[in-house]
Symmetry: C2
Subunit: 211 residues, 2 copies
Amino acid sequence: MTRRGLLLILSSPSGAGKSTLARKLMTWDPSIRFSVSATTRQPRPGEEDGREYYFRSRDAFETMVKTGDMLEHAEVFGNFYGSPKAPVEAAMLDGRDTLFDIDWQGGQQIRNSSLGRDVVSIFILPPSIAELEQRLRSRAQDSDEVIAGRMAKSRDEISHWAEYDYVIVNRDIDTSFAELTTILQAERLRRDRQPQLTDFVRSLNREFETR
Amino acid sequence: MTRRGLLLILSSPSGAGKSTLARKLMTWDPSIRFSVSATTRQPRPGEEDGREYYFRSRDAFETMVKTGDMLEHAEVFGNFYGSPKAPVEAAMLDGRDTLFDIDWQGGQQIRNSSLGRDVVSIFILPPSIAELEQRLRSRAQDSDEVIAGRMAKSRDEISHWAEYDYVIVNRDIDTSFAELTTILQAERLRRDRQPQLTDFVRSLNREFETR
């Protein structure tokens, strides 16, 4: 019997380093499955179905929601986004962890889903708002208005930090990454994530009997 | 506001490597406080009050139990053993973790105590019973009868493995020690063990307001 894979949820305001941490984690352990979201928005140039997103029609998306095939979903700026459930369950049974790069709404829905007890949730905080704004400004030539919108969304996201199991303040990417892998490794050592131990202890008991 | 210290409980059958792991952990982080037990048994040659044990009279021990000053206690082979509560609470408020090297009965009592939510419990399993017995035989010139008694106690101890938060199978002391420090570091990153974050997020919100 293999370990039961867990659901690792990473949330943070954009600009706090979440995507960098997620990318590093996938390289550190390639067995981790990244949960690709489904969306009803149009693909942008260079985006590929099944890589950045599963691009679905509104009808197809709504059917998945109705049949319980979405772990979580939300409407953002008129488009639907959601996490398909089937690949997560397949990975779990295979002993592989699934990484979710989602916002607090998605995190809340997955925690409250039937897979809630398999969730490990981590919130990444920026060291300061000045730093957060600087990172947002440096990575795109967005207008002040767009930046202001992002900052408002960041503030809303941060207001949900206390709903998460763990919190990492990302002052330094290497330290934060070490903390992230530490959390994941420790969670894998939890008794209830090691179902193979039941058989192992049974074998110890047989050994006691045949001494 | 500092981090709230946690209560790290290590249990295992004797011979599984628990004491070695505990000793290494105290060297790795000297801020960790080892919980010295109180006992009514007589000191053996070389033992010092307050180092191996707090040696107490039966009356003094019973008074501590009655006044709620023992986190846990039990009678073993006619003597009382217990963990005094006051030094644990002092360490917690000081942001220092306390390490308990105790059996399943003590673990159970501390988990059920008022400090239960601060407990992180780890059970150390031996790789095999043959290995456990060999370690017991190699470290003392005990009679077969004494060894048999220890093995019976070990079996009883192992039967409580599933009451612990984490399980480490000690196949190799270096790997097990790395797992132990990983668990402790991750537990320190839990949101509810970082009360200083409340003030930190407040400062982020003030920064949003003065942008």
